[in-house]
Symmetry: C2
Subunit: 157 residues, 2 copies
């Protein structure tokens, strides 16, 4: 055991180095993509992506919104939202309209087609959320833990 400190494997002297599966951040990273991949085939049929779907949900929930407000609701910046909203508009799902009383503001609203899609999603996506195999209690737990993490990290990581 004289010179194993540069070994390629994980046999460090004190094994301080956590395995990938033992990182919360990695299980989170994996789960997030697994969920997105689960939603994909369903949302494909409706013609939207997962982030686009979330935007439609937010718009349905809050009504016509400024880009800024959507950004606050989804924790996304303009660099992400602007092109995403343009694609939604190109597909006829939302309307983007610069406000007359303040030319800086752009108000985004669901079109009839966008509203219908959000409703249809509620049927077609029979809450994949529930299909993740978590009990109601576990779902509640998961949401609480994830919100706590998000909040703590937002308050300076």
């Amino acid at each position: 055991m004289a010179t194993d400190d540069t070994a390629a494997g994980s046999q460090g002297a004190e094994e301080e180095f956590r395995q990938l599966d033992e990182f919360v951040c990695f299980t989170l990273y994996s789960a997030q993509r697994a969920v997105m991949n689960g939603y994909r085939p369903l949302l494909d049929k409706l013609g939207v992506t997962y982030p686009q779907y979330l935007v439609l949900v937010a718009l349905y929930e809050n009504g016509p919104s400024l880009v800024k407000s959507l950004g606050a609701a989804l924790n996304l910046d303009y660099g992400t939202l602007t092109p995403l909203l343009k694609r939604l508009e190109a597909n006829g799902l939302v309307k983007r309209q610069r406000r007359a009383d303040d030319e800086r503001l752009v108000e985004v609203s669901l079109t009839a087609e966008g509203t219908e899609l959000r409703r249809k999603a509620n049927v077609v996506v029979p809450s994949l959320d529930d299909a993740m195999g978590l009990t109601e209690a576990e779902q509640k737990q998961a949401k609480a833990l994830l919100r706590k993490m998000t909040a703590n990290l937002a308050a300076r990581g």
Copy 2:
């Protein structure tokens, strides 16, 4: 209340439509990005991105690995890994070498510099994982729930 069914807001007749914050998938989506954003400034100093860091951790843990094995460990496909590994190689952190006994295989291994970075990360990133403000018990809970979700979704969503 004759014609409120096309209203822009969320006042449906039976309010079956969940709010964004009540979706497990959305709290997951938000938390994941919050974590990545928390890691970013720390990893920036080391000169790697978050997914690159995960690859280095996997390589440190498993030793030299085929691209295929890394893909299995991280649940990533070649389309994601190949360019990522090329960037790591360009930065001198890994070596990519086609195997002589089977020219299809590409073996990826940490360079000395890559090994050092993974170790340094263990110090500099004082496990942000722990800095997420979860107790040890909560971390364990979170990992269990996230793994369960991932497994259930992998087994056909």
